[in-house]
Point group: C2
Chain length 239, copies 2
Amino acid sequence: MATMTGMSDALTPRARAREQTMRDIVRIGRTHLATEGAAALSLRAVARDLGLVSSAVYRYVASRDELLTLLVVDGYDELGDAVDTALAGVERSDHAGRLVAIGRAVRAWALAEPATYALLFGSPVPGYVAPAERTTGPGTRVVTRLVEVWEDAWLAGVVAVDDRPTPAPGLAEDLARIRRELAITAPDHLIARGVLVWAALFGCVSFEVFGQYGAGTLSRPEDLFEHHLAVLVGTVGLR
Amino acid sequence: MATMTGMSDALTPRARAREQTMRDIVRIGRTHLATEGAAALSLRAVARDLGLVSSAVYRYVASRDELLTLLVVDGYDELGDAVDTALAGVERSDHAGRLVAIGRAVRAWALAEPATYALLFGSPVPGYVAPAERTTGPGTRVVTRLVEVWEDAWLAGVVAVDDRPTPAPGLAEDLARIRRELAITAPDHLIARGVLVWAALFGCVSFEVFGQYGAGTLSRPEDLFEHHLAVLVGTVGLR
DNA sequence: TGTACATCAGTGAACGCGCGTTCACTGATGTAC
DNA sequence: TGTACATCAGTGAACGCGCGTTCACTGATGTAC
């Protein structure tokens, strides 16, 4: 689990107990996510498993929606940490290797934490809207790393990708805004293909995690995924 | 909505009323899917909207899970119909055009019916397992059409795709089984890329329907999707 | 065509269950002087 | 260091709510003779 607000030392015992309880709430919440799903996530059930009376959790969490937000942020952070850890073992100049490492890390984490993955990348939870100011930062960690890969490759002059098919002229504005917000220099066709690779990567992972391939169709899903990653590496012109 | 058991004529009034009620249940169930989500789908609420007492729906549907199954089958069929309708307007020899038509039809349907799309392609519903004998048929209509496209192109000898990267040797068995079950002749590397295009297509649609792109990032998502389709056409070597 | 019986749609009450959230409270912990 | 007060974690009862499912029933529709 990702660390919460850090520094448990130099805190009063009461404050340390509070941090521990917050961590327990998130941990138990995640197990409930796995067994009941996000829509059925219940504060009362979390309180029960915590050994508290139901009203007590309101000392820690203002509402059921806030618990969901905690789980969303925690999930994004754990996924982001997994990706960063994987990237730490790959040379920054090995662009294809970095893309593959990101893909593997996302898949491995998703298969290990399918319920949290579903919360982040599956169906929206009815009636719940994640507060952008708290989830956008953690939620963009992976895509930021992906963009870094092709931006690095572009700057190194090693992107070998056709600029055909050309993105529609109407897209220029959107792509320019993305370029500005991410402070990158990659050209339109590379950004557009990058978005495709991003969506395709998560499409592959979702199909596997959500069981779209059908039970028993694939005896070696990891081999298929590796092949798909290799094709996607080519889609953004890396090698 | 897809038709249920057909032929309402030559039936007794009571039987016709029953068919109508079944259709109403599915229709109302879908509106509840949209507002409450699959996990919160409730037989009592459907009964209320139908103007019946809650126990009455048990004359039509054995349980809540069976209602979910009806919605799954109905959704797959509607999506399958949408794709078939789109394909009807494209020459069988226009392989790229057929792939693009399928992609557009999937996206359009998903955006029009996000809740049903989420039921079919989003997070699994906790505690519910779709009965394979009822959902596999309707659930494979779209992928069958996709496979048809590249199989046709392959037979016509117009697939221009590198066989690199090569799928891992361990995949040969899985790919051979797929080839046998679908009764096709396309080679390993084409089948493997086809699966990627399938997953990527739904990945793009899911990102858009589930809001992963973030509110306001894209003013013209349809243009981006068109570009992605064009790239995916190339991924399976069509033109 | 008429009658006797079987089938079926829909009723209403009941079962036992879990939920989110509020509130007044007790007792322990922390802090200012 | 000791005391008075403020803060805070946790309690237990209560609110009003909705859920899936079963069951004995009534009355209308369908069918066999």
